[in-house]
């Protein structure tokens, strides 16, 4: 444990990076998931096909390949675009933060697509009919009926998606993001205590995933507060 002295602040900064990646990627993941679900539920054939391809591609490809492709691929693309305007430029560097965050958000978004679609279809038709009978407009139905029912259905799988996101942030260290696993690598180079350092990284991730699990449990309880008493 004494090997960790002097590395606490580095790990703290690394954890902050993990939290930043996590929060950014949640937003993007929800966005990709909603777009995907919207496309799958729409009546447009091409949109359905594209969303279908999206889910098949990113569920069948290893995460590390997507991260590497996005990182190196976007660097090459950006370089050639910049060279069109300024031929002097040799190479454009893409920040690993954005390449990695996008990559894991796209991957987990492909799973979220199915979750959101399922939640939309899971709203009972009776509730919708009741809302219509009360004279609610489609927008009102969506806000007061669909969303409250949908988030309850989507919450348990959404919790799993958040856990996948937090665990996938570790992969971004491969392209050089200075999160906890990357900090551990540097710490090992000077202390030569790989077990201690990596176990500590594991504990940090365990703390993150425990926090997520507990908040999802709390939210689930909150969501059930009206139905539980009725029984």
């Amino acid at each position: 444990m004494e090997a960790l002295t002097g590395w606490w602040d580095d790990y703290a900064w690394g954890s902050l990076v993990v939290a930043k990646v996590f929060l950014t990627s949640i937003g993007l993941m929800v966005l990709f998931g909603l777009i995907g679900a919207g496309a799958k539920l729409s009546n447009i054939r091409i949109a359905q096909k594209l969303a279908g391809a999206y889910t098949v591609i990113f569920r069948g490809t290893p995460e590390i390949l997507v991260i590497l492709l996005l990182y190196f691929g976007s660097a090459i693309a950006l370089t050639s675009i910049t060279q069109m305007f300024d031929p002097e430029v040799k190479f454009v560097d893409v920040p690993p933060f954005w390449a990695g965050t996008f990559a894991i958000a796209i991957i987990v978004g492909s799973y979220a697509t199915e979750t959101f679609r399922g939640a939309f279809l899971g709203v009972s038709p009776g509730s919708i009919e009741a809302a219509r009978a009360l004279g609610m407009s489609p927008l009102q139905t969506f806000i007061y009926i669909r969303i409250p029912e949908m988030w309850r259905i989507a919450l348990p799988p959404f919790g799993n998606h958040m856990l996948s996101l937090i665990k996938d942030t570790a992969l971004i260290s491969i392209i050089g993001l200075n999160e906890t696993l990357f900090v551990a690598k540097q710490a090992i180079a000077t202390t030569n205590k790989p077990f201690t350092m990596y176990i500590f990284v594991g504990l940090i991730y365990l703390a993150f995933s425990s926090a997520i699990t507990l908040s999802v449990m709390g939210l689930e309880k909150f969501g059930k507060r009206t139905t539980e008493g009725a029984r």
């Binding site: 590390i64 790989p194 990596y198 995933s209």
Partner: protein, 231 residues
């Protein structure tokens, strides 16, 4: 930026030469992980707290930390200790492939045991009561009633886990193993053609996933052949 078709033709056979290692990692880890999962499941449903708790902690820790961290702990971390280097496990833990198999098996075991538990809990109470009425012992009920039904119930989720195990084997490339992803990364480092190489690599993985999905679909159809007739 151009898409070099010749490079793809040249490198696909190279990448496919790593399929043996990918398959080896997948099959051995899936097998060992399944054994571990069955052990954990029996501990969970034993009804004895001193067996149940350690299994729960194990599952919690291995599902709450990134697989990459687990691989690094086994590969870089374990050799920190003299007693591990002197132990009989050293011939396995000395090899990167051995470490990858150990880490992947430990990881997948935690996930699969929860899948199996879901299957066991899904077995109808009436069936077990019928077993008791026929004078079956607890062991007989588990072998003749619970197991066949639980296997059928757990199979769809299990096939998903095997597919995510396949994707996890790609992480073996981070500890110098020349599996398909490892070879692809080497080629990209030499040619700097991430689009050509990583996209064709992704297609190969998708084909692999498809084959796995179809095979599990066939097994599911076979196991469900009695249930289908009733419907």
């Amino acid at each position: 930026m151009s898409f070099d078709l010749y490079l793809i033709v040249e490198s696909v056979p190279l990448m496919l030469s790593g399929i043996g290692i990918t398959l080896k990692l997948l099959v051995i880890s899936a097998f060992l992980g399944l054994l571990l999962a069955i052990l954990l499941l029996l501990m969970r449903i034993s009804g004895k707290w001193y067996l149940d708790w350690p299994a729960q902690v194990y599952i919690y820790v291995f599902r709450g930390t990134p697989i990459l961290v687990q691989i690094f702990i086994v590969y870089y971390g374990f050799p920190q200790f003299e007693f591990i280097r002197d132990s009989i496990f050293w011939p396995i833990l000395r090899e990167p492939a051995g470490c990858a198999i150990v880490a992947l098996s430990l990881n997948t075991g935690a996930y699969v045991s929860e899948i199996l538990r879901g299957g066991v809990l899904g077995v109808g109470k009436g069936l077990l009561e019928a077993g008791s009425a026929l004078g079956m012992s607890a062991r007989q009920k588990f072998i003749y009633i619970t197991t066949p039904i639980a296997v059928r119930l757990a199979l769809p989720a299990y096939s998903n886990d095997v597919i995510s195990l396949l994707k996890s084997t790609a992480l073996a490339s981070t500890i110098t193993i020349a599996d398909m992803t490892g070879i692809a990364r080497t080629i990209v480092a030499e040619t700097y053609a991430p689009y050509e190489i990583f996209i064709s690599m992704a297609i190969i993985y998708m084909a692999f996933t498809w084959v796995l999905q179809k095979s599990f679909g066939l097994i599911e159809g076979y196991l469900g052949r009695y249930a289908k007739r009733e419907a």
